[in-house]
């Protein structure tokens, strides 16, 4: 039974609680023990690295220090948290001078920590074998494009990603669960991330482009492993479609939700219900059992 550390990050305690619940449900069904990092703190996110580099380094450093001597790897579902922890790790390997004494007292041998993004972790060959061995439902009829976003892959020097411009993890995993995964060229194109608040116009342009390309590729849904991407693609879909002057119906699902559906988990419809674009009309046209979609 795999036992790993788990760093959820702030948004999984809030607006991305649907993602958090799907991760907990899937981990339980797979007998993966997620040990939450005790008293973890915010990674600093975009705000931290944008306007306070020193604080950003220290926020990540404290989480890395808390990971010392804990189960490895440290699995991170949020792409941005993952990137912040890895970036700080790279910078701190060269220079520890900016770490505050209180945080340095927790330990500074950060090279001992293995930070892994959740979708990379669950698409390791042995994990895919495990998931497939417990599959009870085929995801037939689902034709997703996998959308990875930015922070899990780039820059590869920091993330260690072997295929930063064309990641395959979720594609491979979902194919093995029976989905007709569609290849497209926009899997790592930016959604605009936190610009959604101060400059929604930028996010609307970027997300509109992604919708257009997903539909052009023949997808009937978008699957992601980043709650920031999920929010930007799901929350404003009606408004963005209107500004594009076309109809768009693309449910935006977490890959963990699809794993949950394939494992036949009863809680899965409850996670899907919390998105703004209902997956009901899509799932009702697939071969998935009625109870997975009738209340969506």
């Amino acid at each position: 039974m795999p036992r790993v550390s788990y760093y959820p990050g702030c948004s999984l305690e809030g607006t991305a609680c649907d993602y958090a619940d799907s991760i907990a449900g899937v981990a339980k069904a797979l007998d993966i023990e997620l040990v939450e990092l005790p008293d973890w703190n915010c990674c600093g996110a975009t705000a931290g690295h944008s306007i306070n580099h020193r604080a950003s380094l220290n926020l990540a450093a404290r989480n890395l220090a808390l990971s010392l001597g804990r189960p490895q790897p440290v699995v991170v579902p949020c792409a941005l948290c993952f990137n912040r922890l890895r970036s700080a790790q790279a910078e701190l390997a060269e220079d520890l001078s900016q770490v505050t004494p209180q945080i340095a007292a927790l330990g500074t041998d950060f090279s001992q920590v293995e930070v892994v993004e959740l979708n990379s972790y669950l698409s390791r060959p042995e994990m895919m074998d495990l998931i497939e061995s417990r599959k009870v439902v085929n995801l037939e009829g689902l034709a997703p494009v996998c959308y990875y976003g930015c922070q899990g892959q780039r820059p590869p020097k920091v993330t260690g990603h072997p295929r930063a411009e064309d990641p395959q993890g979720m594609d491979r995993l979902l194919k093995r669960l029976g989905a007709q995964v569609i290849d497209w060229s926009f899997k790592t194109d930016c959604c605009g991330a936190s610009h959604a608040i101060p400059r929604p116009d930028i996010v609307f342009t970027l997300v509109g482009r992604l919708y257009g390309k997903a539909l052009e590729a023949g997808a009937n849904c978008i699957v992601t492993g980043c709650q920031m991407c999920q929010a930007n693609l799901d929350m404003y879909q009606t408004e963005i479609a209107k500004s594009m002057g076309r109809e768009v119906y693309l449910p935006v699902l977490y890959f963990t939700e699809l794993v949950g559906l394939a494992l036949g988990l009863k809680e899965a419809p409850g996670w899907l219900k919390r998105h703004l674009v209902s997956a009901g009309p899509l799932l009702s046209k697939t071969g998935l059992p009625r109870q997975t979609w009738e209340r969506l």
Partner: protein
């Protein structure tokens, strides 16, 4: 000392269209403080061809590097581009010489705030500041108070956007995605001296 030299350089910035005498002091200061090797850029513009946000920018990413190389910080600290960069890291990933452009954008934003200069994208800067205020208060971010403060300070709570924001907020609340109580780290001694 360095600051004085830089403001002297800025005062000496030639008017639009006039010849520029490159100065390396700004590039040296940037490298010393941020570790970015700006001299490595030879202007291939891969950064700008791959950048997803150029449509909204007033300077293209390669121009940011070029102005820095020429020693014209005023141009950079007064532009929108540094605030509009989405930190997507595409430029750095594709740069043949690994010029850390996203880090340069961050270093410039931090300088603008430190020097209390006018900010071209005020809402973006405010959002970052309010976000860090959350972290400073309890070690984690509580989206409820972050968004409330932001909307109150930018007019989104009363203006024409208010109904739209309220509908979205209600939709999130109904789905159990809007939490009412903040969580934070138990230990908060570590936050002291960080901001």
């Amino acid at each position: 000392m360095a600051d004085q030299a830089l403001s002297a350089a800025a005062a000496a910035s030639p008017p639009e269209g006039a010849a520029i005498t490159p100065r390396s002091d700004f590039m040296k200061q940037c490298q010393a403080e941020s570790g970015i090797n700006l001299a490595a850029c030879y202007g291939c513009k891969k950064c700008s061809n791959g950048c997803p946000v150029t449509f909204a920018m007033d300077l293209h990413p390669y121009q940011v590097v070029r102005y820095a190389q020429l020693g014209l910080p005023e141009k950079l600290k007064g532009c929108r581009t540094i605030w509009l960069c989405a930190s997507c890291q595409t430029c750095l990933t594709r740069c043949p010489n690994e010029v850390d452009l996203p880090r340069l954008m961050d270093w410039l934003k931090e300088a603008v705030l430190k020097e209390s200069r006018p900010i071209e994208e005020k809402k973006t800067a405010l959002f970052h500041q309010l976000f860090l205020r959350e972290v400073k208060a309890r070690g984690r971010v509580f989206e409820g108070s972050l968004m409330t403060r932001y909307l109150l300070m930018t007019g989104g709570a009363f203006g024409p956007e208010a109904m739209k924001n309220a509908r979205l907020g209600l939709a999130m609340f109904r789905r159990g995605r809007m939490k009412l109580l903040p969580r934070g780290t138990k230990n908060r001694a570590w936050i002291k001296g960080l901001f």
